[in-house]
């Protein structure tokens, strides 16, 4: 096992990775920008290095600076967390070149899965069902219109390099598609440096269900069941749970086996997630592969008892997988809500100084955050300030415990989406498991806020 690991991230995920490292007796190295000097991940780590100005391009995305810090601190491995450089093949490659272990898959696998078009082709070859659509780049609105005509409307226009819902657009007819094409292409080029677009058939009322995988460097691979993450705003997840209230055992097993088949086919090693769209008839389609730790990994940890970060470290250190498929437990129900610094009605960001911050504690409650009273949430990074997770023997108990914890959760000084989270968890449709990705647009009624 490693003796020192650098965490190339910030916020709650840096804190969470540090926690497992400490438990395993691994020294930790934090990096931080000028905006994060007071952050919890800086004070918790054994060493911390200032790497630049607040903007991510001048700090957390500065590959050479981070490599330099890793060498200075003599870190043997780098944990990238999620977001930022976690799915950047150039960063993984630089680590490989410098003899620093990148805690994640190989650079060429990140690159292959990072191109959504290439990932579609690969999954098709691996025998994993994909959403009907095109697996080639569309250069113009004319080409898009031609492809859409063969697939049938409505279609989803997507950016091949995309993520976080940016550059995605539903088009119900040719006029909508033509209108959206250029803007989406430009937006993707601006955000990802790659304006390659493709289209897929738009699946009505889908559920977003993903399979957590662990794979080692010796061809062993297991799935840690599924997470359902259908409750989304702006194509970003808000509530996640495991198990899914929708799947039956047969579909669960089929999806798990398809995900393992995909990972084996590409020679994947480390923790990874295959995201699927599931339609009302329980047909499932490959959506994308996340070649990193997911934000919502705690719900899987809570039902399996497996520390996914610990397994990532073991796999990266060259150890064989410590579990066989039949040893993966599934115990009770876990649910997570993402607490965002944002207006619950408009979903617009709400940066500012947090004057009061207190989270409930309890045997069934897990709280992941790097925020505390008196800190300022800056506009430079993602609006997620915390994750709250509750566990119970069944779904209804988990919902009730999470609701109770949310009612005791206090954040003052900024707006948060807590009113929305309470409304979702209390909603009869949510409680009945009627969770499709259009849930919020269908059920969420703007409320008065302070």
């Amino acid at each position: 096992m490693f003796s020192k690991v650098l965490i190339a991230n910030r916020g709650e995920i840096a804190v969470r990775v540090i926690r497992t490292c400490r438990r395993l007796g691994i020294q930790t190295v934090a990096i931080y920008s000028e905006a994060d000097a007071d952050s919890l991940h800086v004070s918790l780590a054994d060493e911390a290095y200032l790497i630049g100005k607040p903007r991510v391009a001048e700090s957390y995305l500065n590959i050479e600076k981070i490599i330099e810090v890793a060498k200075t601190a003599k870190a043997e491995a780098i944990h990238p967390g999620y977001g930022l450089l976690s799915e950047n093949p150039a960063f993984a490659r630089r680590c490989e070149e410098e003899g620093i272990v990148f805690i994640g898959p190989k650079a060429d696998i990140i690159a292959a899965m990072g191109s959504k078009i290439e990932a579609r082709r690969t999954m098709e070859q691996a025998g994993v069902p994909i959403v009907p659509g095109v697996s080639f780049a569309l250069d113009s609105a004319d080409e898009a219109a031609k492809a859409a005509a063969s697939i049938g409307y409505p279609v989803m226009l997507k950016a091949s390099a995309g993520g976080g819902g940016i550059g995605m657009h539903i088009a119900r007819d040719e006029a909508e598609l033509r209108q959206a094409f250029e803007g989406s292409q430009k937006r993707a080029a601006s955000f990802f440096g790659d304006g390659t677009m493709y289209i897929e058939k738009y699946i009505e009322r889908p559920r977003h269900i993903e399979i957590q995988l662990l794979a080692d460097s010796y061809g062993n691979c297991v799935y840690l069941w599924e997470r359902e993450c259908s409750i989304q705003r702006r194509h970003q997840k808000v509530v996640e749970e495991a198990p899914s209230p929708f799947l039956d055992e047969e579909t669960r097993q089929k999806m798990g086996e398809a995900a393992v088949r995909a990972a084996r086919y590409i020679g994947y090693a480390n923790a990874g997630t295959i995201e699927f769209l599931v339609d009302e008839q329980k047909n499932f389609y490959f959506l994308e592969m996340n070649t990193r730790l997911q934000v919502e990994h705690p719900v899987t940890e809570e039902i399996t008892g497996i520390d996914i970060v610990e397994e990532q470290l073991c796999i990266a250190a060259g150890e064989p997988l410590r579990y066989k498929q039949e040893e993966i437990r599934r115990d009770g129900h876990a649910m997570e809500v993402r607490i965002y610094a944002e207006d619950p009605n408009t979903f617009y960001p709400s940066p500012g100084r947090i004057t009061v911050f207190s989270a409930p504690q309890g045997e069934w409650i897990r709280h992941e955050t790097a925020v505390q009273s008196g800190i300022t949430v800056t506009p430079f990074y993602d609006p997620m300030i915390a994750k709250l997770i509750a566990k119970g023997p069944d779904r209804q108990t988990a919902i009730e415990r999470l609701l109770e914890a949310l009612r005791d959760y206090r954040v003052e000084g900024i707006k948060t989406n807590i009113p929305l989270l309470e409304a979702v968890l209390s909603h009869p449709a949510f409680q009945a498991g009627d969770t499709t990705t259009d849930f919020l647009s269908k059920h969420w009624k703007p409320i008065k806020t302070k």
């Binding site: 903007r55 610094a341 944002e342 617009y348 960001p349 940066p351 506009p379 430079f380």
Partner: protein, 70 residues
């Protein structure tokens, strides 16, 4: 003279008007980026763009004047 101000802290991602342009009430003039989200800032009244106070890439605080229209 009407000032269009930033409704939240963030970076100026795009300026979609030029000095001398005629803008209508509700039309986007500047797009800010904050917390990885694009936030369009619209003109509150119709008029002609008199002055643009910011450049793309600038960091602005809530309340900063972005554009003046007349």
């Amino acid at each position: 003279m009407n000032q269009i101000i930033a409704t939240m802290a963030g970076s100026v991602w795009k300026i979609v008007v030029a000095v001398g342009d005629r803008v209508e009430e509700g039309q986007d003039v500047v797009i800010l980026e904050s917390m990885k989200m694009e936030i369009p800032i619209a003109a509150e009244t119709s008029g002609v763009v008199k002055h643009i106070h910011v450049q793309e890439g600038d960091f602005v605080n809530e309340g900063d004047v972005l554009v003046e229209i007349e």
